[in-house]
């Protein structure tokens, strides 16, 4: 070969080596950096594998209470649930099908730490091969309390720690017993009350007046902080008349009074003044219409409004009616962000993972999910929410132990009674916990604001329980 040809062959060879080096580096990136993000996808069939010859990891609550464990029986391990009914939607079940944490963390629950060592020990001493154990952030005591407070109603309760995004309580009613899910499968599956639905993350509810938080933020962002309106109990729009609750006329109001009174007339007029696009932009900025990353799949909360939507759709949306749908956990996240100066923390429910010899191998570190509000906006909202509890619609949440800030909601519902909402946080001056409560078709025997207040009290005094 001529010399210049040799030169170019050399260069081409170097180019190939670089190309394959890129492949190698990219594989390392997939396996070392992106691994945890990629493999947890629910489409990965490997997450559903089941190995009954090894001891599946325990699922415990934050205090170490064992909610789920495995027991050796006739040649294979069988899953047992320990009074886990109040946590059934979070813990889930495993077997022919999987649900909840049992499904989404299946891989971790069957991961064998120090596998070579454990298998050697198994051969020599016939010891059990134990997988990694999961510690959740939920507190079984709080789950039980919430379950008792909701009584026989359908609904959901979420309690989230403001500074971290830790979920202390995630309750959904009605419940099922994960222990005999397979014997009862036909009944449970066809039950018209859908006990299998985790209402906290997958229940899509009309928000009613709790949505006025979003409308308020939009008003503040569009220079309407000083917007005043004279409420006469009802207000006419194109093709639509908006009434206040029981047609009560609230008179001349500023945003704080209107919020505390949950005045439909004020907020619908504010919405018309700022226009649909302002409300759409604010709700998108507050992470409506997006998927929230979580250890379990959260259904996205939707504000289905368009710039071309009619005026009646706009005013309905502004007071939380219309086609808007939210999940209780998402409202808890919004509340947490208001309490945390606008910083939404990434919600999480797996606290840490321990291996067979109780060595912690991974701890969830709280992380910022998004900055959805400014500090000024939060201060204003806080003021409005305190006013609501102290002298407005949320007086049932008023506690003698600490100042609660909150918002009530009543969502009209074509089938049956209204759904009752309460979202809030406490203590208002130094927020620790945010809570979101929804009660379906509330008939008055349970008050959402009371449930919220008691949950906040028990969360704050959790260590004394």
């Amino acid at each position: 070969m001529a010399n210049n040809t040799k030169q170019s062959i050399k260069r081409v060879s170097i180019m190939f080596i670089i190309m394959f080096l890129c492949c190698a580096l990219y594989i390392i990136k997939i396996v070392c950096i992106d691994r945890d993000k990629i493999m947890v996808n629910s489409y990965n069939p490997r997450l559903n594998f089941d190995n009954k010859t090894i001891k599946r990891g325990d699922i415990k609550d934050i205090d170490g209470y064992v909610l789920a464990y495995s027991e050796y029986h006739d040649g294979e391990y069988i899953r047992k649930y320990n009074n886990a009914e109040t946590s059934c939607h979070v813990v889930g079940y495993t077997g022919a099908g999987k649900y909840g944490i049992e499904s989404s963390k299946n891989f971790i629950l069957q991961n064998i730490s120090n596998e070579v060592f454990q298998r050697l020990k198994n051969i020599i001493k016939n010891s059990e091969i134990e997988c990694d154990n999961l510690y959740l952030t939920i507190d079984k005591d709080l789950q039980d309390i919430a379950s008792n407070l909701i009584k026989n109603n359908k609904g959901a309760v979420v309690v989230e720690e403001v500074s971290t995004g830790r979920i202390l309580c995630m309750l959904s009613k009605p419940q099922f017993n994960p222990q005999n899910i397979y014997e009862e499968w036909e009944n449970i599956k066809d039950d018209e009350n859908s006990p299998l639905l985790n209402r906290a993350i997958n229940g899509l509810y009309t928000p009613g007046s709790v949505f006025k938080i979003v409308t308020s933020v939009a008003a503040i962002r569009n220079g309407m902080t000083d917007f005043n309106f004279n409420c006469e109990g009802e207000s006419s729009f194109y093709n639509k008349i908006i009434h206040c609750f029981k047609n009560k006329s609230h008179g001349e109001e500023d945003i704080i009074k209107a919020f505390a009174n949950s005045c439909n007339v004020y907020f619908s007029n504010a919405a018309v003044k700022m226009g649909a696009e302002a409300l759409i932009k604010t709700s998108n900025d507050m992470l409506f219409n997006t998927n929230i990353n979580f250890d379990l799949d959260i259904s996205p909360s939707l504000v289905q409004l368009e710039a071309s939507s009619s005026e009646s759709e706009l005013v309905e949306t502004s007071i939380g009616q219309g086609k808007t749908l939210v999940t209780p956990v998402f409202m808890a996240c919004i509340t947490q962000a208001i309490a945390n100066n606008g910083v939404m923390m990434k919600p999480y429910i797996v606290d840490h993972i321990e291996n067979y010899s109780d060595v912690t191998i991974k701890t969830t570190v709280p992380e910022v999910y998004a900055n959805i509000l400014t500090k000024d906006e939060c201060n204003k909202l806080k003021e409005m929410m305190i006013e609501t509890v102290n002298s407005g619609t949320g007086s049932n949440a008023n506690s003698e132990y600490f100042q609660v800030a909150g918002k009530t909601g009543t969502a009209e519902n074509p089938a049956g009674n209204d759904h009752i909402w309460f979202i809030g946080f406490a203590p208002a001056d130094n927020p620790q916990y945010a809570v979101s409560v929804v009660i379906e078709n509330g008939d008055g025997n349970v008050n959402a604001a009371v449930v919220a207040r008691k949950m906040l009290y028990n969360a704050i005094n959790r260590n004394n329980l």
């Binding site: 170019s8 190698a24 997939i30 691994r35 990629i38």
Partner: protein, 447 residues
Amino acid sequence: MFELLIILSRYVFIIYIAVFLFNGTAYILDEAGLTKRSHRGGIFICRTMAALTHITAFLIISYDKVNIKYSIPNLAVAVAGFAVILMSGYIAEKVYKDGCPLVWNCVIFLLDISIIMLVRLNYVLAVKQIIWICFGFFVTMWMPVFIKIVPKFEKLESIYIILSFLLIILTFLLGSKEYGAINWIHIGNFSFQPSEIVKFLYIFYIASIFRKKVNLKELLITAFLSALIVILLVFQKDLGSALIFYMTYVVMLYMATSNEVLLYMGLGALCAGSFTAYKLFSHVRLRVAAWKNPWIDIDSGGYQICQSLFAISTGGLFGSGLTNGMPLSIPVVSKDFIFAAICEEFGALYAICLICIFVLLFVRGMMIAFKCQRRYYGIIAAGFTAMMSFQTFIIIGGVIKLIPLTGVTLPFISYGGTSILVSILSVSFIQWVNGYQKRIERSELNG
């Protein structure tokens, strides 16, 4: 007990391949004149490592966990596969007396991984693959004879290109669709991929043209004809092959002319061409969309690549252990996606080592071209090496989502008769060139 063996075998496999790579690299450095040591022993160690990999792997995949015994058919394949590979290596070395032993070792190692993975995935395909390997080496045996019969084969450029076009047009007329691309012809029970054979002819064509200094007119004609082949392949939706042909053309042009302007023009035209294809063809846009974000379209367009990434990421650095993964959930796993299956069960580290074996093979191929005194043979050797390199890069890069996925086979490893045949013949030709060069060197020494 057996589980423990599988877990431990993951590390053992990595040791085998590392030893192979160490000795292979030493051999190459030695050949390049960078170190001085005897390498005969290294070659023997490499082959031993291939044999140990084979034995260890079959001890695992032949074991029937449910019935707690060894499965006889699998053991039979194990023995047959072992025999075939050793025999093939032996025949190849006898026929190509002065071939590079390292190249054969790499080929044997890769073919062995292919048989192991195919037995693991689909027993029937493994048996067929072994038959194809036999056939490939059988054809290889006769190639030097054929070259002797047709001594002036560098002057047949018009025949090569006409045959190429005939085959491609034939695919349009008789071809059937597989995974969206029209690149298979079925005649009775027999089916083959014409574009694979065209690869062979095409290299001969380009080398025949470039064996002497080319004038502008010839350059334009080859450029035009190459572009035509590439465009026809794009129309057949065989994007991978189109890319391979194009890149091989550009690189061969560069190596033959040493003109960097042509190289950059070629790469520029690639960008322009890809952009035009992106605008013109919806199937190109689909591929790019599936590459940019497969997760949003996981049910249809992104399905294959997502399943592949699941396998690779779940396997992790050391893999799940042979038979412990779920590679059968990956689509087309025995062909295009076999690399993902290897990643899953052998682990990412092993897969990277496997890439290194490909690199050893290609570097050695380029070295043979580098040393060859007769320009025509040198260009052919470089062309085959470049073509295999691009093919390997395109499919590995596609499977790991480094580049948009285009379906081509992984040389030596993917299941497929035409693929195996063309891969073996390409390497054999490179070996023949090496032998040719050695003979010339010897006669120069004697004369």
